[in-house]
């Protein structure tokens, strides 16, 4: 665990993640107090203005400040992401850990259900359910996403629990007659925190992704601003065809930044597990190889004198 936080990639990834969380938390204050505007206010003097001057990131076709929308949208997107992530990982833990720990017929049933849900094309399914629900608020969207996102996480957790179950200390506790649930909560769960947090991070990003996709397709009413709605409006109001890149580019990049941050954390975890990939050790290797290459050049010939 100490290695975890000293890894550069993990640090950067978590920092980016934290920064977005912070913006999501204090975003509305930032917009109202620092920028002195709100995401819906229309500036009739600057309709579709390019970045610069009063509007740092320009305005939309209808004269709304892009930066203010971006900051406000962060809250909308991240909130949905977090909620769906909690739900997905929660359900996954319930299904995966239970199945993996209890085993037998229960496990077979749960695995079958997991596999069925994993195989069903989730995006069209979400689209349809959302289509039936006349007015879908952010909470409903988050629940919907979480509901279709858990199978992947459940698989990982089940596999991990299975391997934990086989370990000596769990076997020993079984012998002693420790109660099942106490064992799961006190002995198994702590060993799963690593994978749980990694899965949660990924689930949050998937949530942000999917929310943006659904909002882009016009699912989910209300006037809440998210990165997805920004891109959707940019397309609908001809922001793309008019070349207003400052409108549709930033929200997409922010989503990608969030995704890259998660990828970085996972890269870092890989490196901790597999030292060959570690950059600093690569540097050391490079020095040593250079040293050997120099030696090779000095001998310069394949034959050695005998």
């Amino acid at each position: 665990m100490s290695q975890f936080l000293t890894n550069g990639k993990v640090r950067i990834g978590l920092a980016v993640f934290g920064a977005f969380l912070l913006i999501a938390l204090i975003g509305s204050w930032l917009v109202s107090s620092v920028l002195g505007t709100d995401p819906h206010r229309i500036d009739y003097d600057a309709l579709g203005a390019a970045p610069g001057g009063e509007h740092l990131l320009g305005t939309t076709t209808s004269g709304q400040d892009v930066l203010a929308q971006l900051i406000t949208g962060c809250r909308g997107s991240v909130a949905v992401g977090l909620l769906s992530g909690v739900l997905a990982v929660g359900v996954a833990a319930l299904v995966g850990v239970t199945g993996g720990f209890i085993g037998g017929r229960t496990d077979q049933m749960l695995t079958a259900v997991t596999n069925i849900f994993a195989t069903l094309p989730s995006f069209p399914l979400m689209l349809i359910v959302a289509g039936y629900m006349a007015n879908v608020g952010p909470v409903a969207i988050a629940l919907l996403i979480g509901l279709f996102e858990w199978p992947v996480c459940a698989r990982y957790l089940r596999a991990q629990t299975l391997s934990l179950r086989g370990r000596d200390f769990v076997q020993a506790l079984r012998m002693v007659g420790e109660s099942r649930w106490r064992m799961v909560l006190v002995e198994i769960m702590p060993h799963l925190t690593g994978i749980l947090s990694s899965l949660f991070l990924r689930a949050v990003v998937t949530g942000v992704f999917t929310e943006a996709g659904l909002r882009f397709l016009g699912i989910g009413g209300g006037d809440s601003v998210t990165w997805g709605t920004m891109i959707a409006f940019a397309q609908q109001q001809e922001g793309v065809v008019r070349g207003m890149w400052w409108w549709f580019a930033p929200p997409g990049l922010f989503i990608a930044l969030l995704g890259t941050a998660t990828a970085l954390v996972n890269f870092g975890l890989d490196e901790i597990g597999n030292p060959v990939l570690r950059h600093s050790s690569r540097a050391a290797v490079r020095r040593a190889t250079a040293h050997m290459a120099a030696r090779r050049d000095r001998t310069n010939t394949v034959e050695v004198a005998s």
Binding site: T119, P124, Y132, A134, F216, V240, F248, G252, G259
Partner: protein, 359 residues
């Protein structure tokens, strides 16, 4: 030679008993049958879900449908239309089980009801028209993206931590994090709008007669398909590159790769026949798993590029509350995903002589 050399050792071994080729084919079949069983269960689940969703949604979809119909046509729906709606949601007088059986009966007759937004066109007509476009777009881009991504990933994972790997892998991670619809917009902006190289919406040139035997028509299909295909292939490459690279990184450490090097085989042979060939296996089963989300990307791309496939029709159906159309498309996409899964599984059986289930 020392005396210990002469230590008693057992007689030469008998020839290994040849038990006949214990070929993987029988095991392979049982594996495929098991998978087939699973897909049948999944298909049943999807169909049942399709039946249940409208019946458990808040509000009465039948009423909403009727209202929509009224708005769409501007007239009070006639008896036939009422009947169509009734057919679709089943007679409220019947209990759920009877409705369920009715539902299966109409499915067995390929009776998917009438579209609301295009009333009174049968849903099956609309769907059949859109289907080839999606099969073409999704099929071609998935195969191309998978092939290119897998190849590049094998190359990067061959030397983990090498120059290409440390440069390209993070870039891929970033590309992979780009939302598909946003990427599609960017492609429209750059190649369609700024450079003007390719048309940005539609599936074919509307000025050319819609004929399969017309070369100009086929060319226009290619031209109109370029941008959506490019977007989807780009997404696919990044995803598969990533997956393949990660498997490859562990495969190059395997003993059989070490032995292949020890044998003095050419490096590219060691990389392809030994490392990549084995790293391919999880990537093929991964293909089956990812098909659902691939369809998500195809739907989005079709919508952004107004490509006349199932995804775009689904989008229209959702926005116009055309429930019968919506549900039929979902069913079709699910069956398509399952069929593609089965193909991926069969490929796996061909590729892996051991053919046992992972895990």
């Amino acid at each position: 030679m020392t005396a210990t050399r002469a230590a008693p050792v057992q007689a030469p071994t008998q020839l290994g008993k040849y038990r006949g080729p214990r070929t993987g084919s029988r095991a392979g079949w049982s594996f495929l049958l098991r998978r087939l069983g699973f897909y049948l269960v999944t298909a049943w689940a999807a169909i049942t879900l399709n039946f249940l969703i409208p019946r458990f949604m808040p509000g009465d979809p039948a009423v909403a449908l009727m209202k929509n119909l009224q708005q769409a046509s501007g007239t009070v729906p006639n008896a036939a239309a009422m009947q169509a709606v009734r057919m679709f949601y089943g007679d409220p007088q019947q209990n759920l089980l009877q409705q369920y059986l009715e539902y299966w009966k109409s499915l067995a007759h390929f009776d998917f009801g009438l579209s609301v937004s295009h009333y009174p066109t049968p849903v099956s007509d609309i769907v059949l028209e859109a289907l080839p476009w999606t099969v073409l777009l999704a099929g071609a881009t998935t195969v191309i993206g998978w092939l290119l991504g897998t190849l590049l990933g094998a190359f990067l994972g061959w030397k983990p931590g090498g120059r290409a790997d440390s440069l390209l892998t993070p870039i891929t991670a970033f590309f992979y994090s780009l939302p598909p619809f946003w990427l599609a917009l960017l492609v429209i902006y750059v190649f369609g709008f700024t450079l003007g190289w390719f048309p940005i919406s539609g599936g074919y040139d509307p000025d050319v007669p819609f004929q399969m035997n017309n070369l100009w028509f086929l060319l226009s299909v290619l031209r109109y398909g370029t941008l959506p295909a490019f977007t989807l292939i780009f997404i696919g490459i990044n995803g598969w590159l990533f997956a393949m690279r990660n498997v490859m990184v562990t495969t190059v450490g395997e003993d059989y790769v070490l032995l292949a090097r020890a044998k003095g085989l050419r490096p590219h042979r060691v990389m392809l026949r030994y490392a990549a060939r084995n790293a391919l296996l999880p990537n093929v089963s991964g293909l089956a798993l990812a098909l659902g989300s691939i369809f998500g990307g195809v739907i989005v791309a079709e919508i952004v590029f107004t490509y006349p496939g199932l995804g775009y029709v689904l989008f229209q159906a959702v926005s116009s509350h055309d429930f019968p159309l919506m549900q039929t498309i979902f069913l079709l996409i699910t069956l398509g995903v399952l069929a593609a899964n089965l193909i991926a599984d069969s490929t796996y059986v061909l590729l892996d002589p051991r053919t046992r289930e992972q895990r």
